[in-house]
């Protein structure tokens, strides 16, 4: 690991003042420190933001929006009963990610900012001869380039629910739609976001309308190992159902693109229609229509399609009263105990 400076500011102002080119914000460190150890990222200075006051609360604002402080841990957010009731698929996505130990340490801002930690990304230079299977190569949103998929589960339901990122930086405070946070890949693989140099995420915000989907809202995550593995494909599906018809739909896919992938076309197709399995298959078809296989991963496109269709069907069936024993898994279709895998 390359030597680096380490500072622990006590206020947001101090933190912003501490920033300089080559510095990185340190949240839980579960992603950043890993990548520093392998040499994939080599910051000259770490600014530990975990001591900053006031960034670890979940609050409901006067306009009904929910504001999640940047330092709230993944575990605390998922376990917050009020939050899980209003945004069940977000809680489900969080609980399907990483492991209990990691979720205790990982912050919500760190989660949406995480870089792919898979082999492909860490090898730094894009492969001429892609790794077997291409499981972690993006099939959407790359313009045909090789790019690793965005690994976050949490960001997938968030983007479906119109989450907004509140940031502050040298140029003052501003807001970025989560959908615009991750930029299309450039020539180098990796993590490029719309954050400007020195900008710090202070909070994530879900608009009041996002809670309107609570009754029909699911996250589904498919992977070879039942738990503690990144998604091979995932989908967040939410429906607002009125009089037996879909009044409004939200659909986002995970592990298929370098960013959480919201599919407005599929949402539009679903709006106003009656619930039926063929409709979900059709929506899924639309969702993947632009996908391009790379490195032999055509199977991933098909898997993502099936995952999207299934997630929609699960959402239509209704949010379970209790968190499934294996959150987001196809193996826990019944509501189970609150046992976190």
């Amino acid at each position: 690991m390359k030597p680096f400076d380490f500072v622990q500011p006590r206020t947001v102002d101090e933190a912003l003042a501490a920033w300089e080119p080559g510095a990185a914000w340190l949240g839980g460190g579960t992603n950043l420190v890993d990548l520093m150890k392998t040499g994939a990222v080599q910051p000259a200075k770490l600014i530990d933001i975990t001591r900053l006051p006031g960034l670890d609360t979940i609050e409901t604002r006067a306009d009904g929006a929910t504001r999640i402080g940047a330092l709230v841990s993944n575990a605390d957010l998922a376990d917050d009963p009020g939050f899980a009731r209003s945004f069940p698929m977000v809680a489900e996505a969080l609980l399907s990610g990483a492991s209990g130990q990691l979720r205790n340490v990982a912050t919500v801002a760190g989660n949406i900012m995480q870089s792919p930690r898979d082999a492909f990304y860490r090898e730094l230079d894009p492969p001429s001869d892609p790794l077997s299977g291409g499981a972690s190569l993006a099939v959407l949103g790359t313009g045909g380039r090789f790019a690793a998929v965005n690994p976050s589960d949490f960001a997938v339901p968030l983007v479906a629910l119109d989450a907004v990122v509140e940031v502050r930086g040298p140029g003052g405070a501003r807001e970025i739609a989560l959908a615009d946070l991750h930029l299309p890949p450039g020539d180098a693989p990796g993590n490029s976001t719309a954050l400007r140099p020195g900008e710090l995420i202070l909070a994530l915000r879900l608009p009041a309308a996002a809670a309107g989907f609570a009754a029909h809202s699911r996250y589904l995550k498919v992977r070879d190992r039942t738990s503690f593995a990144f998604a091979t494909a995932s989908a967040a599906a939410s429906l607002r159902i009125e009089g037996g018809r879909i009044a409004e739909a939200r659909l986002a896919l995970g592990a298929v693109a370098p960013r959480p992938w919201r599919v407005a076309e599929a949402e539009a197709l679903l709006a106003g229609r009656a619930i039926d399995a063929d409709l979900f298959a059709e929506a899924a078809e639309v969702a993947l229509s632009g996908a391009v296989a790379v490195g032999g991963n055509g199977w991933k496109i098909e898997l993502a399609r099936r995952t999207a269709a299934r997630a929609l069907a699960m959402a239509a069936a209704g949010t379970p009263a209790r968190m499934p024993a294996l959150p987001a898994s196809p193996f826990a279709p019944q509501a189970g105990d609150l046992i976190h895998a």
């Binding site: 090898e123 790794l131 077997s132 070879d224 738990s227 503690f228 199977w299 098909e302 099936r306 895998a341």
Partner: protein, 748 residues
């Protein structure tokens, strides 16, 4: 533990009891001292520097930069590496491999040592290692089984398996009315014991003290002694606890030898502990295989031939060829049998024995092929195996010393509910619409005995000290061997002080081959017997003893007393016998053995049958093993609780082999790109549900004095095939490559 044992076996008051692991509290409270917990004064820390290409030469190391870093005390490279007295390519002991110890600047695999950096702190040495910034002249790496020509294996003992041929193979093929010809592939797997390879080395003159996790203490002493040109008795190894070994810790490895060399050179104690990433290369692995199986049956579904060809990957500079094809030789009564091995040389570290070497990979392919043959015959896979049940060893016709495989099949099938299984695939769905399938596999594992010695010392207070350099690598030797020792002396467990894990003790042999309890236990049993025999002689000759004159009658030892057999009214306590004789202690010695005529006459194997249920999502193709029942006949079970753990652990490894484990190489650099536990997957708790072990009663009068066959490895065998066969039964798809992944089923 739920008492799932059909017949708990007792031969004394201790063996046969599910005694809780005696080292458990020390381990869970962190007081058990593993190698790297030792930090002698004046310690230097060594950091291993692995090659990051797989083939070529190191052209530059920035040694000056590393040396200039504060706290770095030495940088060892091929340029300045002090001489070793032994030849790194020689194989001084059994199970040895050529070691990589900075012989030259060439790189033969990613992960090979290219330098060792020493520092006053681990941090300083780590930074020094980074500053070396190696440059290479790289050549294209060969890491896939097709990347080079395969060649037949020249048989030559360990690592170079001979093929086998029994009966007329051509005639067997010709006689078949139905035949299959299938090819299965298995992936490279890395042992990855929780405790990575480590060493703490200290020299005093030409005497070497080592803390080092070792599965064979005295053999390792001889190996290290050879490399440093000192007598084996000058080397002392302390290894009270191992955090797992799985075959990778039997012999000295290159990184460990380098650290010891650094200690010699600097005159200071040196500690080295490999990182998880560094485990992927220099300390062995299970080589990838491709296996072709041709099976034929006659109209009665009797096997006319099993023809098994294995191709295995090995390194470019040494031989360990996975003896996979031989796994099919001892199991089914086929008219003709053939196995053959070929190898391909790749730019990977040398493979080595990994839990059930040969059997795990070979059985995975064989048991799937048997399932395919049963399918072709249109009969139930269990019925098919029963029709081809070997009453004597196939090929040789030798009788088995014991074989309760039929009982394993029956009890396992009964417990699992196998009789309700539809013959055709894709017939079962659960209430949630998940495809459900049942599969089975047979397990077979040999029962080797190694050499071992032990000493038992009866003390004047009637308690005893028993000693052997046995190894507890988590399997429970501290407990099971103490149980044997206590019984051999007729003492309760708490009257016996058991010492193991140190090379100064009598040679406890090798903790490997599933033979440690039989071997070290056999020696302990004999040593205790020697004490009792001597005690009996003393008592019989002592006019004051109630046993006086009973010289020709047999004695038995119980609860610290000697009794005349069949006459409980005549007894004498150990302490009294010794006191009257004026002896402070009585020492007995014992060795493990198997009667040579029995070894010659009988085929000796543990057997088992594994039944698995999987559920597969019909669209998403995700697989989950939901139930497994393994029924094993492994002779006498010394400690049912520990034996169950071993067998369960093996079955879980079966899940791992079937569905998860695979080292992936980057074809450009030859590096393993998933070289950590985030990328190299083994099952997590959520993958392991509903496992059950039955042990089937078996008395084996021939295998060894205690009738122990061993349970360390057999749990994997059969399990992999059972899972793959269950996946076929659920989905109708035969996936002939392990691990079986979502994409394999999705594109099937």
């Amino acid at each position: 533990m739920p008492d799932t044992l059909a017949h708990p076996v007792r031969f004394g008051s201790n063996a046969g009891q599910p005694v809780t692991r005696r080292d458990g509290i020390a381990k869970v409270t962190g007081t058990a001292t593993f190698t790297a917990d030792n930090s002698p004064e004046n310690l230097l820390h060594a950091v291993y520097v692995p090659a990051t290409i797989a083939r070529g030469r190191v052209t530059h190391l920035d040694v000056a930069a590393a040396e200039a870093h504060p706290g770095v005390t030495m940088v060892m490279t091929p340029g300045n590496r002090p001489a070793l007295q032994g030849d790194p390519s020689a194989k001084p002991t059994m199970f040895s491999f050529r070691i990589e110890v900075l012989q030259d600047d060439s790189v033969r695999y990613a992960g090979q040592p290219i330098a060792l950096v020493l520092g006053e702190t681990l941090e300083a040495a780590t930074e020094g290692a980074r500053l070396l910034n190696p440059r290479y002249a790289a050549e294209p790496a060969r890491t896939r089984i097709d990347d080079d020509e395969a060649a037949p294996v020249e048989p030559g003992g360990f690592g170079r398996p001979a093929g086998v041929e029994h009966g007329d193979v051509a005639a067997g093929h010709a006689a078949a009315t139905k035949a299959i010809d299938v090819t299965y592939e298995t992936s490279a797997q890395y042992h990855n014991a929780m405790e990575t390879h480590a060493v703490v080395a200290q020299w005093e003159g030409d005497k070497l003290s080592l803390d080092v996790p070792s599965q064979a203490l005295l053999m390792s002493c001889a190996g290290y002694a050879y490399f440093f040109g000192i007598p084996a008795e000058n080397v002392t190894i302390r290894a009270p606890y191992l955090g797992g070994g799985f075959g990778s810790k039997a012999i000295p490895t290159g990184p460990q030898v380098l650290a010891i060399l650094a200690a010699k050179e600097t005159g200071r104690p040196v500690k080295l502990m490999l990182t998880r990433q560094q485990m992927f290369g220099p300390v062995g692995h299970r080589g990838a295989t491709r296996q072709r199986l041709r099976l034929g049956i006659d109209d009665g579904a009797a096997l006319t031939v099993i023809d098994h060809e294995g191709l295995a990957a090995t390194s470019s500079f040494d031989d360990f060829v996975e003896p996979a094809a031989n796994a099919s030789q001892g199991l089914y009564a086929a008219g003709a049998l053939r196995s053959a091995h070929r190898a391909v040389r790749l730019d990977v570290g040398t493979p080595g024995p990994m839990r059930a070497p040969g059997e795990a990979s070979g059985s995975a392919a064989l048991e799937c092929a048997m399932d395919e043959m049963a399918e072709a015959a249109g009969i139930d896979p269990l019925e098919f195996r029963l029709r081809n049940y070997a009453e004597t060893e196939p090929g040789t016709g030798k009788p088995y010393s014991s074989k309760a495989l039929r009982e394993c099949y029956m009890q396992g099938a009964e417990r699992f509910g196998w009789s309700g299984r539809p013959l055709l695939p894709r017939q079962m769905k659960d209430e949630n619409g998940l495809l459900t399938g049942w599969g089975m596999g047979t397990a077979l594992f040999p029962c080797p005995m190694f050499a071992a010695d032990a000493r038992a010392t009866l003390r004047s207070d009637g308690s005893a000290l028993v000693e052997t350099s046995a190894i507890d690598m988590g399997q429970g030797a501290w407990t099971a061997l103490a149980q044997i020792a206590a019984d051999s002396l007729g003492l309760p467990l708490d009257m016996v002080e058991f010492r193991a894990g140190h090379s100064s003790l009598p040679d406890g042999g090798v903790a490997g081959g599933s033979g440690h309890t039989a071997t070290a236990g056999g020696a302990l049993h004999a040593a205790g017997g020697d004490v009792i025999r001597q005690l009996g002689e003393i008592a019989a000759a002592d006019p004051e003893s109630p046993l006086h004159g009973a010289g020709n009658a047999a004695f038995s030892a119980r609860d610290g007393r000697l009794y005349v057999d069949g006459d409980d009214s005549r007894s004498d306590s150990f302490a009294d016998i010794l006191a009257r004789a004026g002896s402070a202690e009585l020492v007995g010695n014992g060795s493990a053995s198997r009667a040579p005529e029995d070894a010659e006459k009988f085929s000796m194997h543990s057997h088992g049958a594994v039944f698995a249920e999987v559920k597969v999502d019909p669209d998403l193709c995700q697989v989950r093993v939901t139930r497994m029942v393994g029924a094993f006949a492994a002779g006498r079970i010394i400690n049912p609780k520990l034996a169950e753990s071993q067998l369960l652990g093996g079955m879980i490894w079966g899940i791992s082999f079937a569905l998860h484990e695979e080292a992936k190489h980057d074809p450009r650099t030859g590096r393993i790109v998933n070289a950590d536990f985030a990328g190299y997957h083994v099952p997590v708790n959520a993958d392991v549900t509903g496992l059950e072990v039955l042990t089937v009663h078996e008395d084996d009068p021939y295998v060894n004095a205690l009738g122990i066959k061993g349970v360390g490895e057999i749990g994997i065998v059969g399990s992999v095939g059972a899972i793959a066969n269950a996946i076929w039964h659920a989905t109708g798809h035969r996936i002939r490559r392990f691990p079986i992944r979502i994409e394999d089923l999705l594109t099937a």
